[in-house]
Symmetry: D2
Subunit: 93 residues, 4 copies
Amino acid sequence: MTGYDSDKDAYLARLKRVEGQVRGLHRMVDADAYCIDVLTQVSAATKALQAVALVLLTDHLGHCVAEAAGRGGAEGDAKVKEAADAIARLVRS
Amino acid sequence: MTGYDSDKDAYLARLKRVEGQVRGLHRMVDADAYCIDVLTQVSAATKALQAVALVLLTDHLGHCVAEAAGRGGAEGDAKVKEAADAIARLVRS
Amino acid sequence: MTGYDSDKDAYLARLKRVEGQVRGLHRMVDADAYCIDVLTQVSAATKALQAVALVLLTDHLGHCVAEAAGRGGAEGDAKVKEAADAIARLVRS
Amino acid sequence: MTGYDSDKDAYLARLKRVEGQVRGLHRMVDADAYCIDVLTQVSAATKALQAVALVLLTDHLGHCVAEAAGRGGAEGDAKVKEAADAIARLVRS
Protein backbone atom coordinates (compact mmCIF):
# COMPACT_ATOMS: atom_id res chain seq x y z
CA MET A 1 0.00 0.00 0.00
CA THR A 2 1.34 3.44 -0.82
CA GLY A 3 0.51 6.67 0.96
CA TYR A 4 -1.03 8.38 -2.04
CA ASP A 5 -3.67 5.82 -3.04
CA SER A 6 -6.56 7.91 -1.78
CA ASP A 7 -5.48 11.00 -3.70
CA LYS A 8 -4.05 9.22 -6.71
CA ASP A 9 -6.29 11.03 -9.20
CA ALA A 10 -5.30 14.40 -7.77
CA TYR A 11 -1.59 13.53 -8.11
CA LEU A 12 -2.07 12.30 -11.66
CA ALA A 13 -3.94 15.49 -12.60
CA ARG A 14 -1.23 17.70 -11.06
CA LEU A 15 1.50 15.83 -12.93
CA LYS A 16 -0.45 16.13 -16.21
CA ARG A 17 -0.54 19.89 -15.64
CA VAL A 18 3.21 20.04 -15.01
CA GLU A 19 3.78 17.97 -18.17
CA GLY A 20 1.66 20.54 -20.04
CA GLN A 21 3.73 23.37 -18.55
CA VAL A 22 6.97 21.74 -19.73
CA ARG A 23 5.48 21.14 -23.19
CA GLY A 24 4.51 24.82 -23.19
CA LEU A 25 8.14 25.73 -22.41
CA HIS A 26 9.24 23.69 -25.44
CA ARG A 27 6.76 25.59 -27.62
CA MET A 28 7.94 28.95 -26.23
CA VAL A 29 11.61 28.24 -27.00
CA ASP A 30 10.66 26.85 -30.43
CA ALA A 31 8.77 30.10 -31.15
CA ASP A 32 11.76 32.22 -29.96
CA ALA A 33 9.91 33.63 -26.94
CA TYR A 34 11.75 36.22 -24.86
CA CYS A 35 14.23 34.60 -22.40
CA ILE A 36 12.74 36.26 -19.36
CA ASP A 37 9.25 34.99 -20.22
CA VAL A 38 10.66 31.48 -20.60
CA LEU A 39 12.42 31.82 -17.22
CA THR A 40 9.17 32.94 -15.58
CA GLN A 41 7.49 29.79 -16.86
CA VAL A 42 10.41 27.62 -15.73
CA SER A 43 9.98 29.06 -12.22
CA ALA A 44 6.23 28.30 -12.36
CA ALA A 45 6.84 24.70 -13.45
CA THR A 46 9.50 24.26 -10.75
CA LYS A 47 7.12 25.57 -8.09
CA ALA A 48 4.37 23.22 -9.34
CA LEU A 49 6.75 20.23 -9.10
CA GLN A 50 7.88 21.24 -5.62
CA ALA A 51 4.24 21.57 -4.57
CA VAL A 52 3.52 18.00 -5.74
CA ALA A 53 6.59 16.85 -3.80
CA LEU A 54 5.40 18.56 -0.61
CA VAL A 55 1.95 16.95 -0.78
CA LEU A 56 3.50 13.54 -1.49
CA LEU A 57 5.87 13.98 1.43
CA THR A 58 3.10 15.03 3.82
CA ASP A 59 1.07 11.95 2.87
CA HIS A 60 4.14 9.79 3.26
CA LEU A 61 4.90 11.19 6.73
CA GLY A 62 1.26 10.72 7.77
CA HIS A 63 1.05 7.14 6.49
CA CYS A 64 4.23 5.08 6.01
CA VAL A 65 6.42 6.98 8.45
CA ALA A 66 3.75 7.34 11.15
CA GLU A 67 2.87 3.62 10.97
CA ALA A 68 6.50 2.47 11.08
CA ALA A 69 7.25 4.92 13.88
CA GLY A 70 4.18 3.63 15.76
CA ARG A 71 5.60 0.08 15.58
CA GLY A 72 8.95 1.54 16.77
CA GLY A 73 12.34 -0.11 16.60
CA ALA A 74 14.81 -0.18 13.74
CA GLU A 75 12.14 -0.06 11.02
CA GLY A 76 10.71 3.18 12.41
CA ASP A 77 14.19 4.71 12.57
CA ALA A 78 14.92 3.59 9.00
CA LYS A 79 11.71 5.20 7.69
CA VAL A 80 12.50 8.49 9.44
CA LYS A 81 16.05 8.44 8.03
CA GLU A 82 14.73 7.70 4.52
CA ALA A 83 12.21 10.56 4.70
CA ALA A 84 14.86 12.95 6.04
CA ASP A 85 17.14 12.09 3.10
CA ALA A 86 14.29 12.76 0.65
CA ILE A 87 13.63 16.13 2.34
CA ALA A 88 17.35 17.01 2.04
CA ARG A 89 17.21 16.26 -1.70
CA LEU A 90 14.15 18.51 -2.08
CA VAL A 91 15.68 21.39 -0.13
CA ARG A 92 18.82 21.22 -2.29
CA SER A 93 17.04 20.83 -5.65
CA MET B 1 16.63 38.21 -31.75
CA THR B 2 16.64 36.12 -28.59
CA GLY B 3 19.72 35.01 -26.66
CA TYR B 4 19.17 31.28 -27.15
CA ASP B 5 18.94 31.13 -30.95
CA SER B 6 22.37 29.55 -31.31
CA ASP B 7 21.63 26.74 -28.87
CA LYS B 8 17.96 26.35 -29.63
CA ASP B 9 18.22 22.65 -30.46
CA ALA B 10 20.05 21.97 -27.22
CA TYR B 11 17.30 23.77 -25.25
CA LEU B 12 14.56 21.90 -27.08
CA ALA B 13 16.29 18.56 -26.44
CA ARG B 14 16.70 19.34 -22.71
CA LEU B 15 13.04 20.33 -22.39
CA LYS B 16 11.98 17.12 -24.18
CA ARG B 17 13.95 15.17 -21.59
CA VAL B 18 12.28 17.02 -18.70
CA GLU B 19 8.88 16.38 -20.30
CA GLY B 20 9.84 12.68 -20.42
CA GLN B 21 10.83 12.80 -16.74
CA VAL B 22 7.46 14.31 -15.77
CA ARG B 23 5.63 11.72 -17.89
CA GLY B 24 7.68 9.08 -16.06
CA LEU B 25 6.49 10.52 -12.74
CA HIS B 26 2.90 10.17 -13.91
CA ARG B 27 3.55 6.50 -14.80
CA MET B 28 5.20 5.88 -11.40
CA VAL B 29 2.26 7.27 -9.43
CA ASP B 30 -0.18 5.40 -11.69
CA ALA B 31 1.72 2.17 -10.94
CA ASP B 32 1.69 2.88 -7.17
CA ALA B 33 5.46 3.34 -6.95
CA TYR B 34 6.92 3.90 -3.50
CA CYS B 35 6.57 7.56 -2.39
CA ILE B 36 10.27 8.02 -1.74
CA ASP B 37 11.15 6.78 -5.23
CA VAL B 38 8.65 9.26 -6.69
CA LEU B 39 10.17 12.05 -4.57
CA THR B 40 13.67 11.16 -5.80
CA GLN B 41 12.45 11.53 -9.40
CA VAL B 42 10.68 14.82 -8.58
CA SER B 43 14.01 16.14 -7.24
CA ALA B 44 15.77 14.99 -10.44
CA ALA B 45 13.17 16.70 -12.67
CA THR B 46 13.38 19.88 -10.56
CA LYS B 47 17.18 19.92 -10.88
CA ALA B 48 16.92 19.40 -14.65
CA LEU B 49 14.50 22.34 -14.94
CA GLN B 50 16.72 24.56 -12.79
CA ALA B 51 19.71 23.60 -14.96
CA VAL B 52 17.84 24.70 -18.12
CA ALA B 53 16.98 27.96 -16.37
CA LEU B 54 20.62 28.61 -15.44
CA VAL B 55 21.84 28.08 -19.01
CA LEU B 56 19.05 30.32 -20.37
CA LEU B 57 19.92 32.99 -17.84
CA THR B 58 23.65 32.85 -18.62
CA ASP B 59 22.91 33.26 -22.34
CA HIS B 60 20.53 36.09 -21.55
CA LEU B 61 23.11 37.91 -19.41
CA GLY B 62 25.75 37.45 -22.12
CA HIS B 63 23.51 38.67 -24.93
CA CYS B 64 20.50 40.90 -24.17
CA VAL B 65 21.73 42.27 -20.84
CA ALA B 66 25.34 42.80 -22.00
CA GLU B 67 24.22 44.60 -25.19
CA ALA B 68 21.73 46.83 -23.38
CA ALA B 69 24.25 47.55 -20.62
CA GLY B 70 26.84 48.39 -23.29
CA ARG B 71 24.48 50.99 -24.74
CA GLY B 72 23.98 52.26 -21.16
CA GLY B 73 21.22 54.54 -19.91
CA ALA B 74 17.72 53.63 -18.76
CA GLU B 75 17.41 50.63 -21.11
CA GLY B 76 20.53 49.03 -19.64
CA ASP B 77 19.25 49.58 -16.10
CA ALA B 78 15.84 48.14 -17.03
CA LYS B 79 17.42 44.97 -18.46
CA VAL B 80 19.55 44.47 -15.34
CA LYS B 81 16.49 44.96 -13.10
CA GLU B 82 14.46 42.51 -15.21
CA ALA B 83 17.21 39.87 -15.04
CA ALA B 84 17.59 40.39 -11.26
CA ASP B 85 13.85 39.83 -10.79
CA ALA B 86 14.04 36.60 -12.82
CA ILE B 87 16.98 35.44 -10.68
CA ALA B 88 15.00 36.18 -7.51
CA ARG B 89 12.12 34.05 -8.81
CA LEU B 90 14.52 31.16 -9.53
CA VAL B 91 16.19 31.36 -6.13
CA ARG B 92 12.79 31.25 -4.44
CA SER B 93 11.28 28.48 -6.59
CA MET C 1 11.52 17.37 26.33
CA THR C 2 12.74 18.58 22.96
CA GLY C 3 14.22 16.40 20.19
CA TYR C 4 17.63 18.04 20.25
CA ASP C 5 18.55 17.67 23.91
CA SER C 6 21.02 14.87 23.28
CA ASP C 7 22.87 16.81 20.58
CA LYS C 8 22.42 20.25 22.05
CA ASP C 9 26.14 20.99 22.20
CA ALA C 10 26.55 20.02 18.54
CA TYR C 11 23.70 22.37 17.54
CA LEU C 12 25.13 25.21 19.61
CA ALA C 13 28.58 24.70 18.05
CA ARG C 14 27.14 24.68 14.51
CA LEU C 15 25.17 27.89 15.18
CA LYS C 16 28.29 29.55 16.62
CA ARG C 17 30.07 28.71 13.35
CA VAL C 18 27.25 30.19 11.25
CA GLU C 19 27.32 33.32 13.42
CA GLY C 20 31.06 33.53 12.71
CA GLN C 21 30.41 33.16 8.97
CA VAL C 22 27.89 36.01 9.03
CA ARG C 23 30.31 38.18 11.05
CA GLY C 24 32.92 37.35 8.40
CA LEU C 25 30.52 38.57 5.71
CA HIS C 26 30.17 41.87 7.57
CA ARG C 27 33.96 42.21 7.66
CA MET C 28 34.25 41.40 3.94
CA VAL C 29 31.72 44.07 2.92
CA ASP C 30 33.32 46.55 5.32
CA ALA C 31 36.71 45.87 3.66
CA ASP C 32 35.19 46.29 0.15
CA ALA C 33 35.71 42.65 -0.80
CA TYR C 34 34.80 41.67 -4.35
CA CYS C 35 31.02 41.07 -4.74
CA ILE C 36 31.43 37.56 -6.12
CA ASP C 37 33.59 36.54 -3.15
CA VAL C 38 30.93 37.90 -0.79
CA LEU C 39 28.24 35.97 -2.70
CA THR C 40 30.28 32.76 -2.44
CA GLN C 41 30.40 33.21 1.35
CA VAL C 42 26.67 34.01 1.49
CA SER C 43 26.01 30.69 -0.31
CA ALA C 44 28.25 28.88 2.19
CA ALA C 45 26.45 30.43 5.19
CA THR C 46 23.06 29.60 3.64
CA LYS C 47 24.10 25.97 3.11
CA ALA C 48 25.35 25.77 6.71
CA LEU C 49 22.02 27.10 8.02
CA GLN C 50 20.04 24.68 5.84
CA ALA C 51 22.22 21.83 7.10
CA VAL C 52 21.39 22.73 10.72
CA ALA C 53 17.71 22.82 9.75
CA LEU C 54 17.86 19.36 8.17
CA VAL C 55 19.48 17.81 11.25
CA LEU C 56 16.94 19.53 13.54
CA LEU C 57 14.10 18.29 11.34
CA THR C 58 15.39 14.71 11.26
CA ASP C 59 15.63 14.69 15.07
CA HIS C 60 12.16 16.19 15.31
CA LEU C 61 10.66 13.55 12.98
CA GLY C 62 12.40 10.78 14.91
CA HIS C 63 11.29 12.04 18.32
CA CYS C 64 8.23 14.31 18.61
CA VAL C 65 6.53 13.27 15.37
CA ALA C 66 7.24 9.55 15.77
CA GLU C 67 5.97 9.54 19.38
CA ALA C 68 2.81 11.49 18.55
CA ALA C 69 2.19 9.32 15.48
CA GLY C 70 2.68 6.21 17.62
CA ARG C 71 -0.07 7.44 19.97
CA GLY C 72 -2.19 8.10 16.83
CA GLY C 73 -5.33 10.20 16.59
CA ALA C 74 -5.63 13.94 16.11
CA GLU C 75 -2.40 14.76 17.92
CA GLY C 76 -0.39 12.55 15.57
CA ASP C 77 -2.04 14.17 12.55
CA ALA C 78 -1.37 17.64 13.95
CA LYS C 79 2.33 16.90 14.47
CA VAL C 80 2.68 15.56 10.91
CA LYS C 81 0.92 18.64 9.51
CA GLU C 82 3.14 20.95 11.57
CA ALA C 83 6.31 19.20 10.38
CA ALA C 84 5.09 19.30 6.76
CA ASP C 85 4.52 23.06 7.02
CA ALA C 86 8.05 23.54 8.40
CA ILE C 87 9.45 21.47 5.51
CA ALA C 88 7.53 23.63 3.01
CA ARG C 89 9.07 26.77 4.55
CA LEU C 90 12.56 25.27 4.25
CA VAL C 91 12.06 24.20 0.63
CA ARG C 92 10.90 27.71 -0.26
CA SER C 93 13.56 29.59 1.68
CA MET D 1 35.82 49.83 -6.95
CA THR D 2 33.14 47.43 -5.81
CA GLY D 3 29.47 47.53 -6.78
CA TYR D 4 28.18 48.02 -3.26
CA ASP D 5 30.11 51.09 -2.18
CA SER D 6 27.12 53.37 -2.43
CA ASP D 7 24.92 51.13 -0.29
CA LYS D 8 27.62 49.84 2.00
CA ASP D 9 25.87 51.00 5.18
CA ALA D 10 22.66 49.29 4.13
CA TYR D 11 24.53 46.00 3.52
CA LEU D 12 26.34 46.26 6.85
CA ALA D 13 23.05 46.90 8.66
CA ARG D 14 21.36 43.93 6.97
CA LEU D 15 24.26 41.62 7.86
CA LYS D 16 24.17 42.83 11.49
CA ARG D 17 20.49 41.86 11.58
CA VAL D 18 21.21 38.39 10.17
CA GLU D 19 23.99 37.97 12.74
CA GLY D 20 21.43 38.88 15.42
CA GLN D 21 18.99 36.31 14.00
CA VAL D 22 21.65 33.58 14.17
CA ARG D 23 22.58 34.60 17.72
CA GLY D 24 18.85 34.39 18.53
CA LEU D 25 18.80 30.83 17.16
CA HIS D 26 21.66 29.93 19.49
CA ARG D 27 19.70 31.34 22.43
CA MET D 28 16.55 29.42 21.39
CA VAL D 29 18.37 26.07 21.22
CA ASP D 30 20.16 26.83 24.49
CA ALA D 31 16.77 27.49 26.11
CA ASP D 32 15.31 24.24 24.68
CA ALA D 33 12.84 26.02 22.41
CA TYR D 34 10.45 23.86 20.43
CA CYS D 35 12.10 22.42 17.27
CA ILE D 36 9.46 23.80 14.92
CA ASP D 37 9.92 27.31 16.32
CA VAL D 38 13.67 27.00 15.79
CA LEU D 39 13.07 25.80 12.21
CA THR D 40 10.80 28.78 11.52
CA GLN D 41 13.59 31.11 12.62
CA VAL D 42 16.16 29.21 10.53
CA SER D 43 13.91 29.74 7.48
CA ALA D 44 13.66 33.46 8.31
CA ALA D 45 17.46 33.81 8.64
CA THR D 46 17.97 31.88 5.38
CA LYS D 47 15.52 34.17 3.57
CA ALA D 48 17.27 37.24 4.98
CA LEU D 49 20.65 35.95 3.76
CA GLN D 50 19.25 35.16 0.32
CA ALA D 51 17.74 38.65 0.16
CA VAL D 52 21.16 40.22 0.86
CA ALA D 53 22.62 38.00 -1.88
CA LEU D 54 20.00 39.12 -4.40
CA VAL D 55 20.64 42.82 -3.74
CA LEU D 56 24.41 42.28 -3.96
CA LEU D 57 23.97 40.40 -7.22
CA THR D 58 21.72 43.06 -8.74
CA ASP D 59 24.27 45.75 -7.88
CA HIS D 60 27.04 43.58 -9.28
CA LEU D 61 25.17 43.01 -12.57
CA GLY D 62 24.42 46.74 -12.85
CA HIS D 63 28.01 47.80 -12.16
CA CYS D 64 30.89 45.38 -12.74
CA VAL D 65 29.14 43.12 -15.24
CA ALA D 66 27.51 45.98 -17.19
CA GLU D 67 30.80 47.90 -17.43
CA ALA D 68 32.82 44.87 -18.51
CA ALA D 69 30.11 43.87 -20.99
CA GLY D 70 30.10 47.42 -22.35
CA ARG D 71 33.83 47.14 -23.05
CA GLY D 72 33.07 43.76 -24.67
CA GLY D 73 35.57 41.03 -25.54
CA ALA D 74 36.91 38.26 -23.33
CA GLU D 75 36.70 40.31 -20.11
CA GLY D 76 32.97 40.89 -20.63
CA ASP D 77 32.40 37.17 -21.25
CA ALA D 78 34.45 36.26 -18.17
CA LYS D 79 32.38 38.58 -15.93
CA VAL D 80 29.11 37.13 -17.26
CA LYS D 81 30.38 33.58 -16.68
CA GLU D 82 31.52 34.48 -13.16
CA ALA D 83 28.14 36.02 -12.31
CA ALA D 84 26.30 33.01 -13.78
CA ASP D 85 28.35 30.65 -11.59
CA ALA D 86 27.50 32.74 -8.51
CA ILE D 87 23.80 32.60 -9.44
CA ALA D 88 24.01 28.82 -9.81
CA ARG D 89 25.52 28.54 -6.30
CA LEU D 90 22.68 30.68 -4.90
CA VAL D 91 19.95 28.68 -6.66
CA ARG D 92 21.43 25.44 -5.29
CA SER D 93 22.04 26.68 -1.72
